[in-house]
Symmetry: C2
Subunit: 359 residues, 2 copies
């Protein structure tokens, strides 16, 4: 196997999907998982086998990839762009699309360029500060909704909201406290304007048991999880379904560090901070639940430096292949662009940043 590689435990992926499907069923939620995490037709198949029909993606290019692999009902969870109208029209020949909008002018221009009906969610910013109309900005929401109602091809479907600020939480209770008032505001929105509510970051969907007023969830990362999710409280380490495998190329016992072939072009530079406010770019699987887990303390393009406990470094030799939990599996998967199963099968994927000929 080419080193470094990203291994996948498909049984864990299936178990993670099954758990989320059950939660959706119990709460009468429509489950439209986000496929930006895995970006793979083969992994998409694991969802299909559990009855999933509608999916969420993060770009029109990714929508095209999954549409060409048999998915017929796709939400593009990114503000729609007028410049993509020809591509939306191409996709609409083979599948249903749901788009996100936050701007009446964009809605009007887009409507005039579409050839077929499209469902639209008004994106609502739940205080995360990234994208969407503020959920107390009733004037703007009312204006956009009435614009949509006057459109030929665009149909108001409801509201989409992504609570990305749960990623800053560091306990289940913190996630619950953050989400409680957001659910109240979304309920208010629904009562005032009607439509469905789609909601769905992985921490909330993993940690919450009840989803009052919510109609649809669209988490993505939960299929793989990662060390950041464990840190937040979304999963146990045993549920993390992807791990990086990297060769030890040098050992520096004086500083209790080993050098691995695994860098920023493999892991990505996303990190969490440890208790000493120092970045962690990956965690060694072997001693991850000990008092002093070994972790990747720095990454350059192809080099990674692993800080080890004394007892762990004694067990490591140059040439060993070490296994690491990624900090953020979405970005690691996007960089690695393929997965290796436990039986050695290679699973391909789309790869967002890659050249992709849609035209």
């Amino acid at each position: 196997m080419r080193l470094p590689y990203l291994s996948i435990d498909t049984e864990k992926v299936e178990a993670n999907i099954k758990k989320m499907v059950s939660k959706a069923v119990q709460n009468s939620l429509d489950f439209r998982p986000h496929f930006k995490t895995h970006q793979s037709k083969q992994i998409g198949q694991l969802y299909k086998e559990q009855g999933v029909k509608g999916i969420t993606v993060s770009s029109v290019y990714m929508a095209d990839y999954f549409s060409s692999h048999g998915w017929k009902d796709i939400t593009i969870a990114f503000p729609a762009s007028v410049s993509f109208a020809p591509l939306y029209n191409k996709l609409l020949q083979n599948c249903s699309l749901t788009l996100l909008l936050t701007d009446s002018e964009v809605a009007k221009k887009l409507d005039s360029k579409l050839n077929s009906p499209v469902s639209v969610y008004i994106e609502i910013d739940p205080g995360y500060g990234r994208s969407g109309l503020a959920f107390d900005d009733f004037d703007a929401i009312k204006e956009l909704k009435s614009t949509l109602e006057s459109c030929k091809n665009l149909t108001f479907e409801g509201f989409y909201t992504h609570c990305g600020h749960t990623y800053k939480c560091r306990s289940k209770d913190a996630v619950k406290s953050l989400i409680e008032p957001i659910f109240a505001s979304l309920g208010n929105l629904k009562q005032t304007f009607g439509g469905k509510i789609c909601f769905g970051d992985t921490p909330s969907c993993s940690i919450l048991e009840h989803f009052d007023g919510i109609d649809q969830i669209s988490p993505g990362n939960f299929a793989f999880y990662d060390w950041m999710q464990y840190h937040i409280g979304s999963c146990n380490p045993e549920e993390i379904a992807v791990t990086m495998h990297c060769e030890v190329v040098a050992k520096y016992e004086q500083r209790n560090e080993v050098l691995i072939h695994g860098g920023a072009v493999h892991f990505s530079k996303d990190f969490i901070l440890n208790n000493d406010n120092e970045p962690i770019y990956g965690v060694l699987v072997d001693d991850c639940q000990s008092n002093s887990p070994s972790y990747i303390k720095s990454l350059s393009q192809e080099h990674g430096i692993v800080s080890c406990s004394k007892s762990t470094i004694e067990l490591i030799s140059v040439g060993d292949v070490l296994e690491f939990y990624p900090i953020h599996s979405c970005l690691t998967a996007n960089l690695m662009r393929e997965y290796v199963t436990k039986t050695g099968e290679v699973i391909s994927q789309f790869g967002s940043g890659a050249p992709y000929q849609l035209y």
Copy 2:
């Protein structure tokens, strides 16, 4: 053109190469540029046209890519691994290889598995703390050198050193002060053990005028530069040869921010800190030299939030395509995997993290 895209100004690349070639000639240095930054056979051609014959890469896979595109003299600037012996042997059928070693045991094992002669640099850690033997650890250096001298296929060539800690400098003087004692130590090493000295981070190679005792330089990033290099003092903004082009998908005037389609899968999550200790993931070209340049303040997978000055945001409309200097062009290029020239030609590249069949 598919958005977002990474544009390249090949005239700037040629000018950057020319400047470094001249500096090498003036200082009688062998110039072996690092190709990990661009990873592209077409951009490699621009070096060939300026007389470059030997190159540096960061993995055996990248060596294979460039070897298959006509490069015959390649240094793999990453500690050599015994597990790669079959691949080194494959490469040696078509080109000369220089490998890096830091470990006598690895040297012995590797020697026994190679079919042809290979030049070896002993890697020296100049205080960066990443890889290599400390330059005052004469015992270890002596042992490794004498191991190499007893090898059948491995030949001691000299010392390789990468001063990655220049990336933490924030002025030309800081770079000079950091490097001065390192040159003294490298000179001492050369006097004691003989061999050549290869040296070569982009800040040092861009900022220093004299390279006393150095035989070879291997910078990479200088061909493109980026905002981090400008921040260090290595270049002017006008010398940055690659820029990201991203569409504005929403405008939030209340918070002086615009949302772009351009995220962590395009820019990478590398950042520098501004004066308020907040991260910057990209800088708007248009007002980059104003008192308050607009910059990307956060990135998620496909979303980027740009913090703008009041005067700049007034000029921006939804649907506009904005141009940004990347913070770290090596990682942005690796993610984008292709370049678009000013005349619309698409230049392909290797892509380190990508599946690559060498076996």
